[in-house]
Symmetry: C2
Subunit: 405 residues, 2 copies
Amino acid sequence: MRALRGNLVVGQSGGPTAVINASLAGVVQEALRHEAIDGIYGMRHGIEGLLREELVDLRRQSTETIERLKHTPSAALGSCRHRLSTADYERALRVLRAHNIRYFIYIGGNDSADTSHRLAALAAREDYELWVIGVPKTVDNDLVETDHCPGHPSVARWLAVSVRDAGLDTAAIGVVDTVKVIETMGRDTGWITAATALAREREGDPPHLIYLPERPFRREQFLADIDGVYRERGHVVITVCEGLKDERGEYVSASRRDVDVDRFGHAQLGGVSGVLCNLIATELKIKARFDKPGTIQRVSSVLASPVDMDEASRVGQTAVREAVAGKTGFMVSIIREPGPQYRSTLGLVPLERVANAVRQVPDEFIAPAGNDVTAAYLSYIRPLIGPPLPEYARLARVPVPARLA
Amino acid sequence: MRALRGNLVVGQSGGPTAVINASLAGVVQEALRHEAIDGIYGMRHGIEGLLREELVDLRRQSTETIERLKHTPSAALGSCRHRLSTADYERALRVLRAHNIRYFIYIGGNDSADTSHRLAALAAREDYELWVIGVPKTVDNDLVETDHCPGHPSVARWLAVSVRDAGLDTAAIGVVDTVKVIETMGRDTGWITAATALAREREGDPPHLIYLPERPFRREQFLADIDGVYRERGHVVITVCEGLKDERGEYVSASRRDVDVDRFGHAQLGGVSGVLCNLIATELKIKARFDKPGTIQRVSSVLASPVDMDEASRVGQTAVREAVAGKTGFMVSIIREPGPQYRSTLGLVPLERVANAVRQVPDEFIAPAGNDVTAAYLSYIRPLIGPPLPEYARLARVPVPARLA
């Protein structure tokens, strides 16, 4: 059914990314093309801004500002992580009615898909005609029913470049700083950590070991792995996910202080690399340091993937087109087309299927030993990060003959 | 006096940087132009490689490889951090004699200047004609007698871009992740941390507070600072140096385990940001997370400063020219010429004056409150990092009028 003439609201939710503003730009630029859409509003800090009626008029932004959003990292409207109460949903619907908002576009991950799904269901029950479309976004890449998630290819490119550079650093100074542990984001899935494998150009390049939360962290095996690489190479670079868990399913490191648990009850992660450095120093008596780039990894515009920027913009555009075409209760998904050249098309999947589900790194992408990825994984990720990494010099091994005993 | 015909050796020492290979390229490209120079050798892992006679023939590298070094991060020859014993110096001289090495070019910081100075003195005592020139290199920017140190402008550019992006991240999601602590390198001086001020475009932009080790860390004042920004803005981004010390001169966080103390007796730093996050969470009851980019900040080729790359190459070239002209016992220094456009020339300073001295951030570069830098500092640093940062979109504040109570 064709949608009513009315206003559109768009919001951004969850952790910022390098390209979530490209999706916002796509939404606005597409909305400007449809006569069914009058006002184009942005929620300040996602659904929280909607509840407080903090809306920004996106028609009154300059064309240049909207275009420049495509290269502006983080969430320009502000983001949030807010689980709505029943009263909140009712309030949200009142705000939508009061502003004659008929199109609701929410850019986010699985929590946001859940919010959108529930709001669509409530509107249907209350006979308020509302077209709700979710736009996928998460650096974690953990949404189901889509080949990958906008935001993820950019963190993957950032890590490919940065872990490669940091690996060269250890290759040079590993005689002193012997083990480097690089901690990535990703929470309960290892997609982000897996992407560090893209740093390798040749066999034996860093990272030498990759630990994903899809496999339980086994202390003895871990130490044996490190020791093995150390004996072979004299230095070790490993990458680990912030959300590593032990065999009992407990986080290797997480804070459960009240102040650190967010509104969805997720514990604040981060710190596993410090724990592992201590373990290595104590048990193997070799020096270990960690790099934990934290939020820097997810919002770099300079190292963002051009493939990701393009897709992020397209999923935003498509969300608006589908809403105006009368679709509701769906998330835009990315479909990888077969063939040697990477090419994606876009589809729709029910929000309900995406809501609160988590896609882990599948077994075929994880090496049997549990400390690396597979060639199949590299085939999956490589086309998403865009152009090849910069070419570096490698000195030829031409020694000067020794003259002393 | 004109130097003898003979071989040249070049080495890289200390922490890698984004441009130390540009200095190596400068040395090799210049050495190729001088008839006085026969062999051009590189020490593998600095002075350690010289002691072991592990030398690589740099004349047998392709022209492309040498040129590409200018954009290749980390130390291509390998680096070290090795304090020589008296026996080591004698061994080094024996190796130099055996290979008829007459030109000794050492790229490094103040420890390396000390090594070069002592080797030059020994050669003079032993009547071995040797021309020793030091090439400045340190991300820490803590060498005396030079306007700045190659390597530093690149880490400054990396942090300007990355802290700006990470600041936007907190501006978007600060409702959940309220305080961000970004820990930089820099050891006992705050040059690197100070450079995070370059992330600001406008008054009030992150970082909101900057803590350098030149000022003692005062717990109560720190908490009051954070609380003040939090009350004003609702979120806080601060940058801190890994080497912050309290009023008794003790590191806020450092490991003194034997395995973590390097061969110069320096403790391994890193971890102050975790300590500060705990302090903020415990005392102020607000959520704090840290980003600690670690070695990633110092070796990024993509975000390196073009000014730095050019100067790094030039200091390498000049070192060779001065050695061939008969100078010994000096380090090449960078001199900032007066005038509105940044321009540098190169000079020479005695290695002895540089050896083991440390240049702290001067008082006129630190704000009186001890939690920020001054305009004079920004005038010093800004020309060194190259072109302006990418332009980002800022949404105009045009609210949609509220319709509900």
